[in-house]
């Protein structure tokens, strides 16, 4: 740490939400021109802290000082006036508005949109982040959307740029591009607060790191002097057991076979599927990588039966054509499904865990006897899932929304794994889940495959797929690459596919044509 006055100094920040203490006497010092990492698991209080730094939340106690001067940030506009810019994890963009309108909204003052558009073009070209100001945001890829957020921060000549998990939505190549841009921004003297849980990235680009756990600062260190393992240990508080997994290739006949699946997305901003071929074999985990919004949701809906295929033979499950069958038809053939959204899709938030177990298992688990619900039976099932997957909760049968993200995710994954399905299709199994829960879920998926089930994992987390998948395919603009054995597969090759190389021309994203 240099002796210079920190650009931003937060001391003793406390923020409570009801009984939960999200930030507990947090101290953070960001030096001028420094790339400072804020590390921590989900729920450690990182997002709360940066919202306070950006004026979105007011701390219950503690002070902020900007260049040694005590300040209070009542609104993001005040933060922007000081020179603080923020790129949100879940983009704060307006889909139906144009790029220029989105940027104009983030600028203070009354500059007309046309003038903003001109300035936007010059700034975006200067930083090598090309953008068309007249395009509507919903037509843009995730990487382009992030570009908008970065450019609109840069247009305010920031002194401190806050980036909240910026690489979680990018391909490896896009990540490299982002790092080059950040290096440039840093060279111009702008400090960067970089929030991430990707430790290798942090070790590569950050000068200092502050590590949060359960709302408290547990360490401040130089990440370049630490190993990824030591950083992880500080984040989690204990050693994270790596998943036991040796890639295997099964020679059994595929349990799920998809042939030439094409589908129009019901969502006007969605991605249409075209000509998808896929085989999932017993004993293997097949992974589908891809940047968000490339047809993952539509593929999951088609496989689970939420959207029916045009022809029944397109999807063959256990030797039977099921393209016209609903989700219970497929469940009865031995398939199980865990969608991406745990609240609202995998589980009904206000229903109890036993009711949620009933919703997923009424066709297959024997919860319904002569038209009546077997309540003790479903409660017993909940107890088994809770015990097997270490779901932490208060009462015996709470509402799904009362569980934390990681515990609910363990519940919805466990609910279907314990059925011993012959096929499990799971989307984003560890999205927004703490490292301990993620490790448990990944191990359960591997164990399920080793016990002879076919497992399909759709994930945007490439590290996760390399950790557990035996074969991997990439989805891009609604098309799927052939699955290749993970052993010996280069990350760069997958990254190129995620960016669309190798898919051939003439297949513009369907929603562009619409």
């Amino acid at each position: 740490m240099t002796t210079a006055t920190p650009l931003m100094l937060a001391s003793g920040i406390v923020k409570r939400f009801g009984a939960l203490v999200a930030n507990d006497s947090v101290d953070l010092a960001i030096g001028p021109g420094e790339v400072h990492a804020l590390l921590g698991e989900n729920g450690a209080g990182k997002s709360t802290l940066v919202k306070i730094l950006y004026g979105l939340l007011q701390p219950d106690a503690g002070t902020l000082a900007w260049e040694g001067r005590t300040i209070s940030l009542k609104s993001p506009a005040e933060a922007r006036r000081l020179g603080i810019g923020m790129v949100f994890q879940h983009f704060s963009l307006f889909e139906a508005l144009t790029v220029a309108e989105n940027v104009a909204l983030a600028l203070d003052g009354t500059e007309p949109v046309s003038a903003v558009a001109d300035r936007l073009v010059s700034v975006s070209e200067a930083y090598g982040l090309p953008l068309d100001p007249r395009r509507e945001v919903w037509r843009l890829s995730v990487g382009e959307r992030q570009r908008i957020e970065i450019v609109r921060c840069l247009m305010q000549n920031p002194r401190l740029l806050i980036l909240d998990e910026p690489t979680s939505v990018l391909t490896p190549q896009e990540t490299e591009g982002l790092f080059a841009t950040l290096a440039r921004i840093k060279a111009e003297g702008c400090a960067i607060l970089y929030i991430s849980h990707k430790l290798e990235e942090v070790r590569r680009i950050c000068d200092r790191a502050t590590i949060l756990r359960h709302g408290k600062v547990v360490a401040t260190c130089d990440p370049r002097q630490e190993s990824a393992a030591s950083l992880a240990q500080m984040m989690v508080g204990s050693k994270v057991m790596p998943t036991r997994h040796e890639p295997v290739l099964s020679d059994q006949a595929p349990f799920l076979r998809v042939q030439d699946l094409s589908l129009r997305s019901p969502d006007p901003h969605g991605t249409h599927l075209s000509g998808i071929d896929l085989e999932v074999r017993p004993g293997e985990i097949t992974g589908i990588a891809g940047v968000a919004g490339n047809g993952q949701d539509e593929l999951f809906a088609a496989l689970s039966g939420e959207i029916l295929a045009a022809r029944a033979e397109v999807i063959i499950l256990a030797g039977q054509p099921v393209g016209h069958g609903d989700i219970n038809t497929r469940r009865k053939l031995g398939a199980a499904f865990v969608p991406e959204e745990r609240l609202g899709h995998a589980a009904a938030p206000r229903l109890s865990l036993s009711d949620n177990a009933l919703l997923a298992g009424h066709a297959t688990n024997g919860f319904v006897r002569s038209g009546l619900v077997d309540k003790p039976g479903t409660l017993g099932w909940v107890d088994r899932v809770v015990a097997a997957f270490d779901v932490r909760k208060g009462p015996r049968d709470p509402a799904a929304s009362a569980l934390s993200g990681g515990n609910l995710q363990k519940f919805v994954v466990g609910r279907d794994i314990l059925r011993n399905p012959r096929l499990l299709i799971v989307s984003q199994p560890t999205w927004g889940v703490d490292a301990g829960a993620a490790a448990l879920i990944r191990q359960a998926l591997v164990d399920l495959a080793r016990s002879g089930a076919a497992v399909l994992v759709i994930s945007q987390d490439l590290d996760e797929l390399f950790e557990i998948a035996d074969r991997m395919a990439v989805i891009f603009h609604g098309r799927l690459s052939p699955a290749q054995p993970t052993a010996g597969l280069a990350r760069e090759a997958v990254g190129l596919l995620m960016g669309g190389s190798g898919f051939g021309p003439g297949e513009a994203r369907a929603r562009d044509a619409a």
Partner: protein, 305 residues
């Protein structure tokens, strides 16, 4: 005055209250709020406007009272849906029912006074513009106000920063909040503007269109105004087209009845509503089910503090 001019004049008077109410509702919905209380706010405007005009003897005071009544009604809605994050559909429906009842109470003493006041009330509004009025088919200030509203709202929404911010709140209140915009305050202003427009539209009904008070005299025009906003796919100029389409058909079917067209009068009277439904269906299917509604329409916003 030719027959054509007479028909055109009546079409304009039939369309103007719809246009004023629809343009107000359009602004409300663009900010992400669905206020189904149009009918209640409108009839409160009609009742309070008429009562105030009679008591004061001045139609302009009546107009101001109508605007205040509409805004007061919309304030109730704002407290419920913004302050308490209540369900917007339920609150709006309650507001409509409440307004219909309360207007009956307020208007009750004035039901008998209609014949005497009709001529007296007619004068100040219409005679204020004798020269311009004659030149432009003898229109009243409300018609000009409705055109000014369309132009003003169009300019505000598409050309100004506050208009952009209002649209942003309707598209994604979470993002607007993250950028530091006061979503609830912006929606409050939009709701009050919608209430003022509804009150003004009500005043037009009781002070100009049929210058007397009768309970339930809005006769579903508030609901038609809501449909016009959807019909217009939330664009001001199309709202004008929708209002005049509906008003035009209302008048033309009256003339068709007068000309002795052999269709039951009840069926003819239902024609404007039928045409509105058909037009909505055609527009929605032409768009392939694609929504052009503000993405946050009807979703309550609760900032985390």
């Amino acid at each position: 005055m030719t027959m054509f001019e007479a028909i055109l004049l009546t079409i304009i008077t039939a369309s103007t209250p719809l246009l004023i109410a629809a343009i107000g509702q359009l602004v409300v919905e663009r900010s992400g709020v669905l206020n189904l209380g149009m009918e209640g706010m409108m009839i409160m405007g009609a009742a309070c406007g008429f009562a105030a005009a009679i008591l004061s003897g001045n139609s302009y005071i009546g107009v101001l009272a109508a605007i205040a009544a509409g805004m007061g009604m919309s304030m109730i809605f704002a407290v419920l849906t913004l302050g308490l994050a209540a369900n917007q559909v339920a609150s709006g429906l309650a507001l409509s029912i409440f307004g219909l009842g309360l207007s009956g109470v307020i208007g009750a003493p004035f039901v008998g006074a209609r014949r005497d006041t009709m001529a007296r009330l007619d004068l100040p509004v219409l005679s204020d513009l004798p020269v311009i009025g004659k030149a432009l088919f003898g229109q009243d200030p409300f018609v000009y106000a409705s055109f000014a509203l369309v132009i003003g709202v169009w300019w505000f929404l598409t050309r100004t920063k506050p208009g952009l911010i209002l649209r942003a709140c309707g598209e994604s209140h979470a993002s607007a909040h993250a950028l530091g915009y006061p979503v609830l305050k912006i929606r409050l202003f939009a709701i009050l503007f919608g209430g003022a427009c509804a009150g003004l539209a009500g005043a037009y009904l009781s002070l100009v269109y049929t210058p007397f008070w009768s309970p339930g005299m809005t006769a579903g025009r508030g609901w038609i105004a809501l449909a016009i906003v959807v019909f217009a796919s939330w664009l001001p100029w199309r709202a004008m087209a929708g209002a005049y389409l509906f008003g035009g058909i209302t008048i033309l079917q009256l003339h068709a009845q007068g000309a002795g067209v052999k269709i039951p009068s009840q069926a003819m009277a239902a024609l404007p509503y039928l045409v509105t439904i058909i037009a909505l269906v055609i527009i929605m299917s032409r768009r392939g089910g694609q929504q052009s509604a503000p993405a946050s329409l009807g979703v309550p916003f609760v900032p985390d503090r």
